[in-house]
Symmetry: C2
Subunit: 185 residues, 2 copies
């Protein structure tokens, strides 16, 4: 499974590509950051991020794109930019028919370090060890993008089982729902 | 001046196209809403919004796109979707080299009704009168998109004067900055 992780941001949008399956050693295929100047206008910045992400998708052809789920936080100005950059990432993937999954920062930290409250240094150190890198990827946004991709590869089996169970539950409800409708007519 | 206004949203993205100049009667060229199903995944919804906005840009070829400036509000879930839909609108415009301007909801209400705290009904009524329509555009998102376009046409002369003054101030500072550099070397 080849996953492209995106740590969204307008000034620095982290990108990391990881290949592997849960339970086996993982391989880093690429890592980097798409940057846009903070004094540029928002429209051209979004276009630059789109071009950057398209280039990464062209080069690595991931089967799935994992994006950090954005929450409204204290810093309103930052969160809007993060939401906008994440929209561009999701749009680029969906246009190519590539599935997108979202993981919260806590889910990523918990998956990688065992603690949902790990700091950036701990995440960077674990990413370095898991991908057998010579040193932690810089800046932190690049390491976070790799962490997102690893998080997805590890959570995917459980997420798939959950989705299958939900689908089975929906399928098993169909007859009873139909009979209820029949009665109420 | 032909302006396409966008009231961004994932479920209903209002679009309105208005032509005219400040101080003259304005003409509505089109109004509508791009809708996406709320139970669809976010990626395909953003793709649907992109297609919808592209179709409006193809048909009306606006000189400028005016988008509502999004703030983090109480309803976190809604504001993220609004920020993401606005990113798609700004991206579509910027990709074509069409300038994008943002106006806050208060700026739009103040420009259209004279009060920054006007309600939706007042905005709808003024849009109906200003564009000489038979009835207020429905839903409110469509009326709000027209209000954004009108707001931009009316604010544009003042915004242009401000930008020119700022550019002149920057230009007049260049010699003194250069001489300071010379001294410090």
């Amino acid at each position: 499974m080849r996953v492209l992780g995106v740590d969204p941001g307008l000034t620095r949008c982290g990108i990391g590509v990881v290949e592997g399956v849960a339970g086996r050693p993982l391989t880093m295929l690429g890592v980097g950051v798409v940057r846009t100047p903070s004094d540029d206008e928002i429209g051209p910045r979004l276009v630059a991020i789109e071009r950057g992400i398209e280039a990464w998708l062209d080069e690595h052809r991931p089967e799935l794109v994992a994006v950090e789920r954005v929450f409204a936080q204290h810093n309103v100005r930052t969160v809007m930019g993060t939401a906008q950059a994440s929209a561009v990432a999701m749009l680029c993937a969906a246009r190519r028919g590539i599935p997108v999954t979202l993981h919260t920062p806590s889910e990523v930290k918990a998956a990688i370090t065992g603690s949902g409250r790990a700091d950036k240094a701990q995440v960077g150190a674990m990413v370095t060890r898991l991908l057998r890198l010579a040193e932690p990827p810089r800046p932190a946004d690049a390491a976070d993008a790799l962490a997102l991709a690893i998080c997805h590869i590890w959570r995917a089996p459980a997420m798939n089982r959950l989705q299958q169970a939900q689908a089975a539950a929906r399928a098993s409800r169909i007859p009873s729902t139909a009979s209820v409708r029949k009665v109420t007519r």
